[in-house]
Amino acid sequence: MTTEALLDTGRELIAPWTKEIAEPEARRLDAVIEAGDLLAAVEALHNAKWGYLSAITGLDQGVEAGIIEVLYHFCNEAAVLTLRVRVPREAPVVPSLYGLIQSVTFYERELMEMLGVTVTGTPNSDRLFLPEDWPDGVYPLRKDFRMEQLHEA
């Protein structure tokens, strides 16, 4: 299948839950979906065996925007489909994909400790990268992270 055909299939699969969709670059699709629809959309991709979950990126949009974006990158040959979930910065919650893709725990653990996003239903919420004595509530990849927060703690 050509990359265009793959992208079209992907677009159709997630169409019921898509709020906005864009093609930022060649071979890429970027779809915004609600956190509540995430599992349904991923299930659609997973059942159709459309690619594999390659990475989860957490993106802090800053204090003013008050939004954290969670990006789920699915790769299928040359095509990359990104599901973009926007959650409020104050109480960021996304559902775990563990029920569908078991290998997702590492990505989810990273997301939790680096950006303070709560992933509901993930089997292991231990720290993966940060040290044991890292202060709670300090998330290094948030834009308002300061080194002083570490020294204070």
Binding site: T57, G58, H73
Partner: protein, 404 residues
């Protein structure tokens, strides 16, 4: 606490019945970076595994946000000392996509040649490590001796043995002179002959076969569902290779053939990597034969307009994914790196279940963990309160003795 026993701090001691949890603590005498595994065992058989990383977590993704694109080139090269060039390539390509800059063909070809030389050095390194873990130190010494050939070539091209810093935003720093091209050709001829020998050793040596054949099997279904990438996936019959699927740099002009093996065991992982070496030699020769003429660099803007991009490349260990977001300044807003080891680590848990404890060193090195993995001190926590400590070295020795 007894200082003899390296107690990992994050232990979820799951002890039920006669099962022990074996933490593989965070240091290794020879090769690897620290990481931490916990294996649950029932007698000699492994029943589960969990991973704790972060002993080498330096905070690079955050660090990248406070450095300019040019400075970041040096930072991302130092994410990994084995696959440094491919990290820089992935980052460069991402930034070039954001800036909509076209890299000259000669620069792309040189990038690719260095990337393939790096793959040769990485695979030879891995073969040595795997042989060492199997108790086959002779092969380890031979592969590392031959690896020096390719290290010399890399040094000849770029001036450094590791962290070559060959990439620039918008091109490459170093050219291939006729002398170095001749040297590469001679080096490749020698290596090809040696690799032929290694392929023979790996597939016929009875001792090595007993340590690899049918061990750590990962089926195609498992590999697909785990999202495993690179040679580990290809050894389970999953045809996944970014060089083929989504050609970057010069791979569209000089395509590579994917090496796939359906067996899924450690032997398949060895064979796939060794066979990939031949493919490396072939494609480098072809590129040297048809090396495009022209400039090495093109002009890059210092500030990059706001956008997001994804850059995927095939590192020696598999797909490496960079997500870069720019914000109109000369520093990136966000750099996300997903290294191939992360999904591969999950496969350790899957592949090790049901195997002998003695096979663990081989299974872990079978995925070629990069930021990574094994360690030295083992604490066997006995439910009856008799703690035993086993070093990685001792466990390795145990593995060797077990198969005598």
């Amino acid at each position: 606490m007894d200082p003899n026993i390296m107690q990992p701090q994050s232990l979820e001691m799951k002890q039920d019945g006669d099962k022990f949890v074996i933490p593989i603590g965070p240091q290794h005498p020879a090769l690897k970076e620290p990481g931490h595994f916990e294996f649950t065992v029932d007698g000699e058989t492994v029943t589960g595994a969990t991973v704790r990383l972060g002993y080498v977590h330096r905070g690079i993704e955050k660090g990248a946000e406070s450095r300019s694109y040019v400075q970041n080139m040096y930072l991302v090269e130092r994410i990994c000392g084995i696959c440094s060039h491919i990290h820089a390539t992935a980052f460069c390509q991402g930034v070039e996509q954001l800036a909509e800059v076209e890299v000259p063909p000669r620069a792309r070809a040189i990038r690719t040649i260095i990337a393939e030389l790096e793959r040769i050095h990485s695979h030879l390194l891995w073969l040595g490590v795997a042989a060492h873990e199997a108790g086959f130190d002779m092969l380890f010494m031979y592969t590392w001796r031959d690896r020096e050939t390719v290290m010399n070539l890399l040094e000849g091209i770029t001036g450094n043995r590791v962290n070559y810093s060959a990439n620039l935003l918008g091109g490459v720093k170093c050219d291939l002179t006729p002398e170095i091209i001749t040297a590469i050709r001679t080096g490749l001829d020698f290596l090809e002959e040696r690799t032929q020998h290694y392929l023979e050793v790996v597939t016929t040596d009875a001792m090595f076969l007993r340590r690899t054949q049918g061990i750590g099997v990962m089926t195609r279904e498992q590999a697909e569902s785990l999202g495993v990438v690179g040679p580990t996936a290809r050894a389970s019959g999953v045809a996944r290779d970014v060089r083929v699927d989504s050609p970057y740099a010069a791979y569209s002009e000089f395509p590579v053939t994917m090496v796939v093996d359906p067996a899924g065991d450690l032997l398949a992982r060895c064979v796939v990597r060794v066979k990939e070496l031949f493919e490396c030699y072939r494609v480098i020769r072809e590129m040297l034969e048809h090396l495009p003429e022209g400039d090495l660099t093109t002009r890059m803007p210092r500030r990059i307009k706001p956008a997001e991009t994804i850059s995927r490349v095939e590192a020696p260990r598999g797909e490496l994914l960079y997500f870069i977001k720019s914000n109109g300044t000369d520093t990136p807003e966000r750099v996300k790196v997903r290294t191939p080891t992360l999904p591969a680590l999950a496969s350790v848990a899957e592949a090790s279940v049901g195997h002998q404890l003695a096979d663990i060193p081989m299974i872990i090195s079978g995925i070629d963990p990069c930021f990574s993995c094994n360690d030295r001190m083992f604490t066997i926590n006995d439910t009856r309160g008799n703690d035993k400590t086993m070093s990685w070295e001792a466990l390795r020795q145990y593995g060797i003795e077990f198969y005598k």
